[in-house]
């Protein structure tokens, strides 16, 4: 019922934008479908498959637990030979299970209040033994969901637990009973080992090389979603679980009081009632995680931020791409689901100064419902278990099961981005066009950080543009080394490579933005400046795009599809063409506004012709809003105009008016396509 707002990140003003004009108006915009195909598993009528967990079984079937408490075993889930999958009810009556694991003939499931082992002892493929491995206390608050288990190398089972919320302070996460807001490790002998705390809504865990990682969602004390590495005894930031650090077996020592002394909880009463803490605009000295960490060493930074509203709004499961060459060129990288935006991101970790950090990219979107769970199935298909009930998601169906298959085509993507002592190295899946890659105008970016405060989420702050000093392109064109003047430790660095094209097919990047979390800057040799290209495209490759102020009298002929510049204008008197002309007047090309769409995070929720989180740009164009009206709606959205979309758009007053007008003009130019 509570709406999930996607929040857009603030941005730097670019009053005039250098845009590459390659004379390729028909430049193909690649689509995810060309490389990764989403298939939907048909579900028998009457089954409500609100997926809480998926896991593959050794025989190729899939076990799925659903929020309504059933466990289904699905045979032939990949629909081989065009045959439907078979659904068999293995277990039922569980309490909102949100995770499932297969281990030695049994299924292990997290219910709200316990870890349960389900076993079929008589061979009819129906569970008859529901063993309580460990029951933990819960207070009975709705938000006390439990997730997992994930199997540790020593056979222990990791389980995570959401916080409850206050009765009066409904915005404040609290841990009413032991180990809420914690990840615990449970052993088959019925013992529990508290592992780490600081979790708020730890819906997604994943094992990477035997190490535990988890995702959390934006919320109080959590500036944005992200991926955390969870070693035993760490504190990831939400204070609720600190209530129990005084317990004998707590591996975390810092107390609530110690944290609150460092960062105030802002518990404030006005007229006898608590007031919700709000973000302080232009705050003098906000707290950042890295600063607080100096006083509270158990506090850990997220290995990778997943900027809220861009790379998801409610991050979920983490899986590792297996090292078989059947899912494209991204072996050993991580995939992270997102419930609210119904998509999957790609994350690459590296160890710098002994700590994990890394980069995140968009990977694939457009799932029919919220991406909750993932597991690999037969043939290296990635199963995606979905639900959005009560939470809302870009995908419009309530629930379902889909799988992602690689088409065998290699997308032109950044393979990874790694930190260097003086900048970044970007590797690609295909060689880049060297001429473009050597042009510093092909690159842009900015860096910022999130606040650490008791407020729900954080705007990105301390934002500044990344200054690229030079670039060195590898001989084989498979990587570039970027030297950056203003590397800022602890900040999230967004890098856009909008100007790059592949060497052969001149493709655009499928996803031209990378989001690197620079917790540590590696030491080592810096590149000689003399070895770098510092070239910026000359006048011939660059033009300044400015938005002409439309005048009422000037009516522009629709742009000739084949080649006329958008700026070509001619007065016409034919009133039947007037509307078309109005719409397309001064309409910029996609190439001209692509950068704006990415920087302003429009593309996190809107695509040109496809409904994603929000309506497609084309669908917006059909509403026949004037350009001015679109600008107004960017600044003050009216979600009630789009009742069929679950995630209402947040106001974006930070979009520069010039950008907004150009985007509006471009949107309206799509109306007659």
């Amino acid at each position: 019922m509570k709406r999930i707002y996607f929040q857009l990140i603030g941005l730097s003003l670019l009053l005039s934008i250098p845009v590459l004009s390659l004379g390729q108006e028909s430049d193909p915009t690649p689509t995810e479908e060309q490389y990764y195909r989403i298939s939907t598993v048909p579900i028998p009528e009457g089954i409500n498959l609100e997926v809480g967990g998926v896991t593959s079984l050794p025989d190729g079937s899939l076990a799925v637990c659903v929020r309504r408490g059933d466990v289904w075993i699905i045979e032939n889930p990949t629909l081989q030979d065009g045959r439907n999958a078979e659904f068999k009810l293995f277990a039922s009556g569980l309490h909102e299970p949100l995770g499932i694991l297969y281990k030695e003939g049994s299924l292990y499931i997290s219910q709200r209040g316990e870890l349960t082992k389900l076993t079929d002892t008589n061979g009819d493929r129906i569970a008859d033994k529901y063993e309580t491995v460990y029951a933990w206390p819960i207070s009975g608050h709705y938000h006390e969901y439990s997730f997992g288990p994930k199997l540790a190398p020593d056979g222990g089972l990791f389980v995570s637990g959401n916080v409850a919320f206050g009765d009066e302070e409904w915005w404040r996460g609290e841990s009413r009973v032991p180990w809420r807001g914690w990840i615990t490790k449970i052993y088959e002998d019925g013992t529990l080992e508290p592992w780490a705390t600081g979790m708020r809504s730890p819906a997604g865990m994943g094992m990477v090389d035997g190490e535990l990682f988890y995702t959390d969602n934006q919320g109080d004390w959590v500036g944005s979603g992200g991926v955390w590495h969870v070693k035993k005894g760490v504190f990831t930031g939400h204070p609720a679980g600190l209530t129990w650090t005084g317990e004998e077996n707590s591996p975390v020592q810092v107390s609530t009081e110690e944290l609150y002394e460092r960062v105030g909880p802002r518990k404030k009463k006005v007229n006898g009632r608590y007031v919700k803490p709000e973000n302080v605009l232009n705050e003098d000295q906000p707290d950042f995680l890295y600063q607080v960490k100096k006083d509270i060493p158990e506090l850990v930074l997220p290995a990778v931020w997943l900027p809220h509203g861009v790379l998801g709004i409610s991050n979920s499961e983490i899986v590792v791409i297996k090292d078989e060459n059947t899912f494209g060129p991204f072996q050993d990288q991580l995939l992270v689901g997102d419930q609210g935006q119904s998509k999957i991101m790609r994350v690459v970790l590296e160890k710098v100064n002994g700590e994990y950090q890394g980069v995140a990219f968009d990977f694939i979107g457009g799932f029919q419902s919220g991406v909750m769970r993932m597991d690999w199935g037969m043939g290296n298909n990635l199963f995606v278990g979905e639900t959005n009930r009560g939470w809302g998601s870009a995908g419009t169906t309530n629930a379902g099961l889909q799988f992602v298959s690689w088409t065998g085509q290699t997308p032109f993507e950044m393979h990874t981005v790694s930190a260097k002592p003086d900048g970044f190295e970007i590797t690609f899946t295909k060689p880049v066009d060297k001429k473009l890659a050597e042009d510093l105008d092909s690159y842009s970016g900015r860096s910022y950080i999130y606040k650490y405060h008791p407020v729900y989420g954080s705007p990105p702050v301390n934002m500044e543009d990344i200054i690229f000093k030079g670039v060195k392109v590898a001989e084989d064109g498979m990587s570039v080394r970027l030297v950056v003047e203003n590397m800022r430790q602890y900040h999230l660095h967004e890098i856009y490579v909008l100007g790059l094209r592949s060497a052969e097919a001149k493709e655009r990047l499928l996803h031209p933005a990378a989001y690197y979390t620079l917790n540590n800057i590696p030491k080592g040799k810096k590149l000689e400046l003399s070895s770098l290209s510092t070239k910026r495209a000359g006048a011939g490759l660059k033009k300044k795009v400015e938005v002409a102020k439309p005048t009422k009298k000037e009516v522009v002929k629709p742009a000739d599809k084949k080649g006329s510049q958008a700026s070509t204008s001619k007065k016409v008197t034919d009133s039947t063409k007037k509307e078309v002309a109005m719409a397309e007047r001064e309409a910029p090309t996609y190439a001209e506004i692509e950068g704006m769409l990415v920087r302003n995070a429009c593309t996190a929720c809107h695509k040109q012709n496809k409904r994603v989180v929000g309506p497609s740009f084309q669908a917006i164009s059909k509403r026949k809003y004037s350009n001015e009206r679109i600008v107004e709606l960017i600044y003050r959205p009216e979600p009630q105009n789009w009742p069929e979309y679950a995630v209402p758009m947040a106001a974006m007053p930070q979009v520069p008016r010039k950008d907004a007008l150009m985007i509006a003009a471009w949107i309206n130019s799509l109306r007659y396509q």
């Binding site: 408490g69 909102e96 082992k117 033994k129 029951a135 207070s139 009975g140 009930r389």
Partner: protein
Amino acid sequence: MRIIFSVILLSLWGTQMTAQTRLSLQNMDDFRDQAGNWQIVGTVSMNPNVDIHSKPAPPPLIEEKKKKKKKKQNVQAPPTPPAPKAVRFQQGTGILLNMNTEEIKDHLITSWEHGDIELSLEVMIPRGSNSGIYLQGRYEVQLLDSWGVKNPKFSDIGGIYRNWEETPGNIFRGKAPASNPAKAPGLWQKIHLLFRAPTFDEAGNKITNAKFDFVDLNGVRIHNNVEVPLPTGGPIENNEVAMGPLMIQGDHGPVAFKNVEYTLLSNLDASVSDLTYKAYKGSFGSIEDFLSSEPTYQGSSDKINCLVTYEENNYGLTYKGKLHIKETNTYEFTFAYTGGGVFSLDGERLVDYQSGDAYRFDKATKTLEAGVYPFTIHNFKTAGWRPPRLGLYLKTKNTHASQFHAYESFPRNADMVSPIYVDAGASPKLLRAFLDFEGDRNRRITHNIGVASPSGINYAFDLGRGNLVCGWRGRFVDATPMWFERGDGSFRPRGAVQFTFLNQPLAHLSNENEPFPTRAIDYTPGGYQISETDGLPTFMYTYKGVAVSSAIQPDGDGKYLTHSLKIENPDSTLSLYYKLAEGEDIQQVEKGLYRIVGKEYFIELDKKYAAVIREQGEVQELMVPISSELTYKFMW
């Protein structure tokens, strides 16, 4: 949240203020003279195993036998001890009892008459007995021992009885209760109803039929706005009238009543006039934000209506009008709205809640003399997720509520959602969910499982304490609170839920006075095993090192549950007790059979067990030592 609001809304229609009359039951003064089969007594006890029609030896305790068999046994049986009586009573007051014979069997008729009436009472029916409550002496709500009946008919308890007319147009076939929340014979059962008398024009022609707004049996709604077009069978007189006495059937067997309370109701005689409004557009934080600004619309109307703003959200609205009161009385206003609201009467602010996103039903009580009172309503809303709602209701203790708003200003389905019900099919259905003990959120059972059996009997088991916490018959649960939107993790049993107690029932007690632990101590839940033959679970847990299995078996007729506990590895160093029941008073009906007074259920166990009743603070407890096994019946 929506579900909660609809409950509030329901309660607005469903309950009336209490101005009720309580029958003293100190004497028979409230009733007309009768043959003597009705009397006032002090206590009554009915044995659920003894049918009023049979005078045989007591049937075996655990297994029930068919009547025919009993008769046969009777002939062949050797002399037996004196047969237990179906009904026992003691002198005193407070309980109205019918003990009719073949000859003395009058109906009981009140000395007073009623039209519209809200009536509540408790009734105890012995096994096999039959009676009925005739509203106005003409419309019968049936009373019958309907224990365990799965598909109740008009002739079962709570049914609106049929008539026996055969002329077309005069036939009324009765109306079965929506479900059967009946309890076992020998237990007090609660009936609560609101009846509206038929109405007539000046010429005496009927305008509206008699109607039951609701009938609740043991807290479960069994009739919901049901009209009765004709008198039912056996009326005091076969006509329809505005006023008539209450009549209770006395010729079909013993029956007892207590706590009889009623309120006579009429329509409210009050109206509003001179209604004018001003509507404002904007996002307002308080009424001061718009009161002095220019209204977007203004006008007059017959009824209060929040839709005159033409806005879904971000509006302000002021209504002014006059309330005409015809009779001096204490009046209760219900001011209902989304957003924020202020309601002032005669210059006095009776409701003042200036938040833009609330959803409230505020009540205010005021004693008013006959006269005309100016009133003002302010309403504003800044919550896009809430629909516009504005309503004003008024009633007194002796009237139905009237509303002064337009239908669309507060549609009655405002917050309803399609419910999600779960039932057993051909095999049992198990479902874990939070369960609020006796509906109390503060006593939420977090590790709870509900079990529905195809025989129509359901129960809930507290896995965190190893305790059978309640049973109920009929439909299983409403899972809407858990499965609609995010949900709150809980379900609600459907039907009349018989709660037991919240405790860990198995405990080592060092002496007979030591209390049972309230929380699980030295207790580890083990889960459950599903039986291959009947699909029912056997729960497993360990307590102080002993492994316990606990199986709860419904009987075939859906009447009671048999709970069997086994201790796999008895430990003679422990002195283990099992708590069977807790109540304000526990009465031994006969050896091995106990009635838990107040909560109204029976515990029955073999005479071989040394069950004891002990005082524990305010309550009594029934407990039994257990070493290796225990079997008992939970009947209600």
